[in-house]
Subunit: 724 residues, 2 copies
Amino acid sequence: MATLRKQYVVNRPLYSEDSFAQDHEKIYRRRKTLLDHVKQYLTCDSKRVKNTALSLLPIVGWMRIYRVKEWLLGDVVSGISTGLVAIMQGLAFSLLASLPPSYGLYTAFFPVLTYFFLGTSRHISVGSFPVLSLMVGAVVIRLVPTNGPPANITGFEGLTQDQQRVLVASSVTFLMGIFQLGMGLLQVGFVVMYLSDTLVSGFTTAAAVHILVSQLKFVLGLVVPGISGPLAIIYTLEEIFVQITSTNICDLVTSIVIMVVVFIVKEINDRYKAKLPVPIPIEVIMTVIACGVSYGFNFEEKFQVDVVGKMVSGYESPIAPNVEIFKESAVEAFPIAIVGFAVAFSVAKVYSIKNDYTIDGNQELIAFGVSNIFGATFRSFAASTALSRTAIQESSGGKTQIAGLISALMAMIVTVALGFLLEPLQTSVLGALVIVNLKGMLMQVRDVPYLWRRDKPDCIVWLGTCVGAILLGLDLGLAVGLGVELLTVIFRAQFPRCSVLANIPGTDLYRDCKDYLHMYEPKGVRIFRIPSPIFFANIEFFRDKLAEAVGFNPLRVLRKRNKALRKIKKLLKKNDERIIEKGVGGLFHQTSVDSEDKSNMEDLDLPTDFKDLPVRIDWNAELPANISVPRVELHSLILDFAAVSFLDISALKGLKTMLKEFIRIEVDVYIIACDVYILEKLHSCMFFDDEIQTSMFFPTLHDAVLHVLQKHKDQSRLLADTKL
Amino acid sequence: MATLRKQYVVNRPLYSEDSFAQDHEKIYRRRKTLLDHVKQYLTCDSKRVKNTALSLLPIVGWMRIYRVKEWLLGDVVSGISTGLVAIMQGLAFSLLASLPPSYGLYTAFFPVLTYFFLGTSRHISVGSFPVLSLMVGAVVIRLVPTNGPPANITGFEGLTQDQQRVLVASSVTFLMGIFQLGMGLLQVGFVVMYLSDTLVSGFTTAAAVHILVSQLKFVLGLVVPGISGPLAIIYTLEEIFVQITSTNICDLVTSIVIMVVVFIVKEINDRYKAKLPVPIPIEVIMTVIACGVSYGFNFEEKFQVDVVGKMVSGYESPIAPNVEIFKESAVEAFPIAIVGFAVAFSVAKVYSIKNDYTIDGNQELIAFGVSNIFGATFRSFAASTALSRTAIQESSGGKTQIAGLISALMAMIVTVALGFLLEPLQTSVLGALVIVNLKGMLMQVRDVPYLWRRDKPDCIVWLGTCVGAILLGLDLGLAVGLGVELLTVIFRAQFPRCSVLANIPGTDLYRDCKDYLHMYEPKGVRIFRIPSPIFFANIEFFRDKLAEAVGFNPLRVLRKRNKALRKIKKLLKKNDERIIEKGVGGLFHQTSVDSEDKSNMEDLDLPTDFKDLPVRIDWNAELPANISVPRVELHSLILDFAAVSFLDISALKGLKTMLKEFIRIEVDVYIIACDVYILEKLHSCMFFDDEIQTSMFFPTLHDAVLHVLQKHKDQSRLLADTKL
């Protein structure tokens, strides 16, 4: 059993951080200052210029390695299948944005053109994304409501309601593009880190609920005014239930049939994924059938159903965005920009890892920024990517953005030539297709019990984001979710479980003294572990916990001792005076001492001052004249800093006060396993003075304990020696 | 030199966490669940009821120990001196709230009455506080602007402008009281922890700038409409500079004289603090003189100066708050409630520590909540405490709130009987007194260079809060500051400095391998220190840093190996087939392998599967048929978790993936010094499976390194043995 019982043998000098530094010289490493970083950032040589240029045009990179024979066929096939889906989704999602369906086709065309040149992902399918479409739709509805007058904006005169809406949507998209481009140029793509999986899951679930509610009116064939702002979802549902008796039965039946068929076929697609060469394009099939049926039986006139209607044939001239709309919608455009980028980036990352190439977050921001600005001038609305579409593009063999380009061409063909075929299509069919695709997003609700069991704060983030986004709207909800998420991080660091450590006998290991039966806690020594970073929000917490762990409040003890000292000095003086100058002195001194008592409250916090006294007072012994001072059995306090990963200024000040209080009541304080950077910071922030010295730092807990034991053994031996 | 060279000797079995757990049985400690906490919170016995009742009426506590002989005289003297100041400040701060001066006297009276019964602090002087007054003033000005019609609120009909303003102020104060009371009852007093010293310093500096600007019009004798909202300060300054030619010279001269005299006397007070029995009450003296001069020379008619004018004599009947104003001002009342409480609590804490009694944050919230609600019904505005006034109350001998009660009585006397004496007082005098008292708050700007040198993030918090609060207004600025402050905490934890550790020869200590010259890094072993908590925002960062530290991306290596393995299998099969069934097999197999290549991308991430192979492949040897795979020299990776104080779910998932990637390319991973609570969490979150096992945990770095060395020594010996 030799392998089981390997030995751990160490024999080395006992080190404090000071003596360690003496024995082992540290290499001087110059830290880069902020200035150095800026300089480095601004230096410019030909190589960097070339790299930057290349990174701004990723197409050059992948075009050079394009293998025409192997990849082109896959790209074309994939482009065609993706194109069909993109057209369907474009039509359907434009309903979410409260725009005429043809603009969805624009969104499947224009942004792709620029992304082709600028994007670093080779697999994502650029175009409309339901959550984004809905967020744009919220602004559209707010500025151009269905009933009632539009907002008071200069550019609106002489435009029809739809034209006003297109202007709003394209302006918001333009602004979103500016935000994305700006963030890309400022290299702040890392902000998406803050959108954790939990947050995104809660947010998209809320979005799915919003999408569901927004499509109900199409499915039921009702005319419900779009409502925006906090609690809009409640008001919309109320409106729907009020009107529910006027449901269009033809729309409802069509929708249910479509939903059931699509749902079943999708399940089949899923189940026989391995056996099917290509998933059945059930949505396209159903749309074609629905178009035919609606046209054949003239549903529009017979049942008064709402149809797609006159499609704009071909493209319209570019429009300039409206600055007044910028002002009105800036607060909403920012979360749209963030969400759009975050979705695209996370999808792109999945496929870049899968296919072993790198994507660049900041370049993606630039690509989407430019694409949205470009698209917006041609009246398309917010573009990102949809996971479903990208999955089709990649699984059907797409290797590069050439597939994206081909899908865009398909959308162009429909816009230019085949749009009229879609005119008899019921909007309820589009609504039903949107709803049936929500299954995955809504199923994320199953995360909740999982998270609750595993990690309550994460669960609260999910619920906070989801409920916030449902009730307050997606933009405010995202802000609330982010706030809650950041607060959970603070909370985790703020209220950690502190513990008092003790030695496991026969080892150099220390554990929580409540966790094991046989522990060795040296007399007069307390080891306190601080298990988290220290900052403004928890320094007071640690102070309280430490007082609890040692069993007394050091400041109070110090005050009591100083008060006692005054009394003793007074007693001594009185005794002296009684001998030397009996008479006048008594009254005089009484008053002077009284005034001292009043004015020198602050003095009580100073170190006990033994001068003028013939002997040093042993505070734990019986004191004369009924003066009582709390007894302190502790002579050493060891703070385990191993888990303290940072300190801020408030913590530093608080720590300094705390240590001083202990040192002033003659408790030695030791800090162990302190991070080198924190130690450097303490030095640079003037942490050390006469009372707080660098000799208090030890590399390990055991070093400190051995030092303490040694010191107090020496002292007690010294005491014993003098007694003899 | 025996003491210098003490030895550190340890001889114990080598422990992994598993073998340690075998040797040392842990005591089972049942953790309190959420339910237990709720139960405990809701249990009720006679003692708890009594304590709760007592804590709700702190007056009972201190009245029982009231020492009439010793304390009463001090309280009375202190009450009178504080009362004088409270009257002056009440008049002056009501200008900040844009209210007639008499309401400042109300604020010095009503809230004190309830605080007397409910407050736990014995020393603070309850009443108006400049920053709060200004925040209330912002709402007042927004709803009842000087020029232009007031907001469309039902209760405003038939009221004069001043009456409307009083209604707004008292409603906001009422709402603020409700917020405070609510927070107190919900026991959430701990939120003030988030207002760090840095934040408060930046915020109050911004408030001082606002106060300064708001008083300029009084000092210059101009009529400037109050402006509220973001950038209000810019517009106000613009307005003042436009009008500057119509400055009232009498007001200006009076103000300058007052400011210079008060400033000098205050400096004298400060310098000779020890020698003066009581600070010279220069503000009171100057006010009396100014009153007399203004009355004597009839300034009002002669120079058209603005005077206090007709004071309301006596008290008016209580008013009900207006619910419409609640709705309009809820967003502003909340920060007012927070700021008011935070100021009072921090001041109260200073004096409670100094005088050795405890205050209770939640009870203070209740006390201020009730006081503000009570005060608001009697038309007083937001009450908290002013540091200057409290300092006077305490230093002039006040021991309990009896002093506060007496100062309230002084305010009452002026309201009821002596108000007419103040009528000729110029408002510019009050403005000058406010401005001259801003010195301390404005001098906080000196914190900036100090913070910049010490701690850049803290400096950014200060600047963010201050600039935000100056430009956006105090309420929005506070929110911005809080956001920045919380983000700095996240940032500190998010981008820590990771390091690769190595052994200091001859010891069990490990340090950053770049820091020392002579270090021992065992061959094939990498020790990576994670110096901060791991959570959603930094798991990717650590992943990148770890790949950088080991010099390769484990996932990529795994993929390359799996691809190589496929090729090798193919080669082997071909060889077999060439022998067994030459002919048809070749074509058949070619296709089947191709389809495999396409469909099984995901398989590349699975562990390398050596079955069907005659030998285990040594990946670092030369491979046949030009198959090349990156070499991995590493056999063990040790992660130092000592500073990982918490993990969230995202981090847990990310960590699991990361570890699996390493384990699958045959790198042993060890985690050392992992916190017990984190280990428990890993267990409860199903972190462990066939690949990731508990045997990877070791208590110390040295244990793990010894284990690794032993293991690989055994292996190489085993290899050597078989060779022989």
